[in-house]
Amino acid sequence: MSRLEILKTYKIFIGGQFPRTESGRYYTPLDKKGQPLANMCLSSRKDFRNAVVAARKAFGSWSEKTAFNRGQILYRIAEMLEGRKTQFVEELVKQGSTEAKAKQEVELAIDRCVYYAGWCDKYQQVFSSVNPVASSHFNFSALEPMGVVGIIAPQTNGLIGLVSTILPVIAGGNTCIVLASENLPLCAITFAEVLATSDLTAGVVNILTGTEKELVEQFHSHMDVNAVIYAGGNKEHALAIETGADCNVKRVFVYANDFTKATDENPYYITDLQELKTTWHPIENVGGATSNY
């Protein structure tokens, strides 16, 4: 007798948990042959709002973790991803990739996690400064995360696009709400399972599945989202986000690349989502002693 396979229910990822969409709706992306891939959650704006609440709640503890600790957690993500390599390859193949290309994409994703894990405690030194002001003050500028970031992941390359947009954002101490590729969503939810087992603080990454068309407005109009990354490749949606971002002066970044190249990883993806804070303090200036001993 052949054994009946257990099919996976793909749910969404909010606040470290895997709920179904509150809307109860689903959609069914198809594979290349027109066969259904799975019933995916068709996330609603309420799901988006819940995700923002979770992301905001997680921001304080995530951003205040030591940089070294964030690096360890990102490295842990790479470890978990490596362990599930076969599953990701299978899903990519199921979604239309060749075996070889799928393997390449997964390996690139793992290596990219390691790459950004390493940056967690290094970009600050590269991009911060002590400023030689012309008065008796000590003055320095250091980077701080922007806060809650909305990410619309690339429609192509369901795994590497997702990983390449999420990793620099959380490496820098931000939290995020991510909308996965509409037609290639399987890896996104499996990646959420990786995140859930990597000691990542709950709510740091929240992943929704659904349509850009329905959710794009939420990304730019939500008043508690500080910045939006749009990598979905739809010019109309990019424009909608840029146009709507004024409601709370959101920072908007439109990435046009597909993140498959080696040059698609660099610390400037981290600094995009950083604020620069400059601090002043007076230097005591009494007496005549100098340092000329």
Binding site: V126, S129, N131, P132, V133, A134, S135, H137, N139, S141, E144, M146, G147, N226, A238, L239, E242, T243, A245, D246, C247, N248, V249, R251, N257, T263, N266, Y268, E275, L276, K277, T278, T279, W280, H281, P282
Partner: protein
């Protein structure tokens, strides 16, 4: 001119009621023209429309000069000149030579510093002490600082190729007219861009003096174009299709309009917008220093400062003492003739702004807050407001939430560190903050948790060309000053 008269307070009774004699700065060496034209393509030209408007001295309400009102066609002409200068001259010049021009501008400004200071005070109403000691030197230093970057750009952004953007459109406010022009023009030129700049309609004169200095420096025609005008002139700059970058300093409302207008055009954008910055006094702070810091934080430049420390948070245990000292200090402030070297608080920049400030003072009273104002006499002519503070202010009060942009301070109290961090961060703005405490570890706790771009610890309202300035949240994005300020004017290759 009437002598300053002050109420005698117990704390500041120096016996005998002595007062300073007036000590006005002479204006004899300053010769303003009757009319200022637009500076386009290296020439001073009349506006196409033939329209001019008057700029007045807010301290006397007297007309100083008339200036051109540039329209869309003038802006187009300026952008074409800037594009031509960029393509044919400025981008072909070696970086070293480019830097030398900027140094030359800095030097010429230093030579004319006194004239610039007096005109700034006449046109903006700010005290001569401030124009002379803060605005003008900082403006000169800004040019001097960025001049040196011109041939060192490859060191600024590690492992990236950088290049100029092209033509930049810049719109500046009326609170620091010359200084803001310097903040905009200096880094733009150092990065290799050409400039179309519009000063604010109430304070166009020092920008036109700067145009004359730039002309005198021999900077190639069209590299810097300065156009006076109103909001419509600014809109024409923002919407011009051949501009590569917009830099705006001004209100959050206008900033949002610009962000929307620029959406989808590919123009690079930096916004330096409003603020409602918290100034936090802990019980272990050196109280007398802190009181001076509060005064400087809110009354510097008549409170026309985007990073003004307009929300004071005092720890409950020292609240009575701090508020009493603050009230006493308020009564010693000299309000009046901005040209007088004794004056602490000059004129409100315009009638419109005066009305806005009065409106907010009324809102504060209507909301039930307790008002205290200095007992000083105000000059009969001109736009003046007494330094004012409100106690019994709720976190939700409009005067504690909205930017007033005048010498009006709201005071709230707090008990714990957590409480004050939450209250301070509970604002759509995030430009600056101040912390006063003698405890080092507390300073770093506070400075790392306050969500603002500039934090002053045991000091306030300090600026420097090497020190990046700019906000979080609705206070805008991008930084001005320092190495990081170059990023706003460069294409940084991915």
């Amino acid at each position: 001119m009437s002598k300053h008269k002050h109420k005698k307070t117990e704390a500041f009774d120096f016996n005998g009621g002595w007062d300073y004699s007036p000590s006005p700065e002479s204006t004899g060496h300053v010769k303003l023209k009757e009319r200022y034209d637009l500076y386009i393509d290296g020439e001073f030209v009349a506006p196409n429309s033939g329209k001019y408007f008057q700029t007045t001295n807010p301290a006397t309400e007297k007309v100083l000069a008339e200036v051109a009102h540039a329209d869309e066609s003038d802006v187009d002409k300026a952008v074409k000149a800037a594009r031509k200068a960029y393509e044919n001259v400025w981008s072909k010049l070696s970086a070293k030579e480019r830097g030398k021009y900027i140094y030359r501008i800095a030097r010429l400004m230093q030579e004319k510093a006194r004239e610039l200071a007096v005109v700034e005070t006449l046109d903006a109403g700010k005290t001569i002490r401030e124009s002379r000691d803060v605005d003008v030197p900082l403006a000169c230093n800004h040019f001097f600082y960025y001049a040196g970057w011109a041939d060192k750009l490859e060191y600024a952004f590690p492992n990236r190729n950088v290049s100029a953007l092209g033509v930049t459109g810049q719109i500046i406010p009326w609170n620091f007219p010359l200084l803001m022009a310097a903040w905009k023009i200096a880094p733009a030129l150092a990065a290799g861009n050409t400039v179309v700049l519009k000063p604010a309609e109430t304070t166009p004169l020092t920008a036109m003096l700067l145009a004359e200095i730039i002309h005198e420096s021999g900077l190639p025609a069209g590299v810097v174009n300065i156009l006076t005008g109103y909001g419509d002139t600014g809109a024409a700059i923002v919407n011009h299709p051949d501009i590569n970058k917009i830099a705006f300093t001004g209100s959050t409302n206008v900033g949002k309009i610009i962000q929307k207008a620029v959406a989808g055009t590919g123009k690079k954008l930096t916004l330096e917008l409003g603020g409602k910055s918290a100034n936090i006094i802990f019980e272990d702070a050196p109280i007398d220093q802190a009181v001076e810091g509060i005064v400087n934080g809110i009354f510097f430049n008549q409170g026309h400062v985007c990073c003004a420390g307009s929300r004071l948070f005092v720890q409950e245990s020292v609240a009575d003492e701090v508020i009493q000292k603050l009230k006493d200090r308020l009564d010693t402030l000299y309000v009046g003739d901005p040209l007088d070297k004794n004056t602490d608080i000059g004129a409100i920049n315009s009638k419109e702004q005066l009305e806005t400030i009065r409106k907010y003072i009324k809102i504060g009273k209507d909301e039930g807050a307790s008002m205290y104002e200095s007992s000083c006499e105000l000059p009969k002519k001109g736009y003046f407001v007494r330094p004012t503070l409100f106690t019994d202010v709720a976190q939700s009060s409009r005067i504690a939430q909205e930017e007033i942009f005048g010498p009006v301070l709201t005071i709230q109290t707090f008990r714990t560190i957590d409480e004050v961090i939450q209250k301070a961060n509970n604002s759509p703005y995030g430009l600056a903050a101040g912390v006063w405490t003698d405890k080092g570890s507390r300073i770093f706790n506070m400075t790392s948790k306050l969500r603002a771009g500039v934090i002053w610890a045991n000091t306030y309202n300090k600026f420097d060309p090497t020190s990046p300035f700019g906000g979080y949240k609705e206070s805008g994005f991008g930084r001005e000053g320092g190495l990081q300020g170059l990023g706003a004017y460069l294409k940084i290759e991915r």
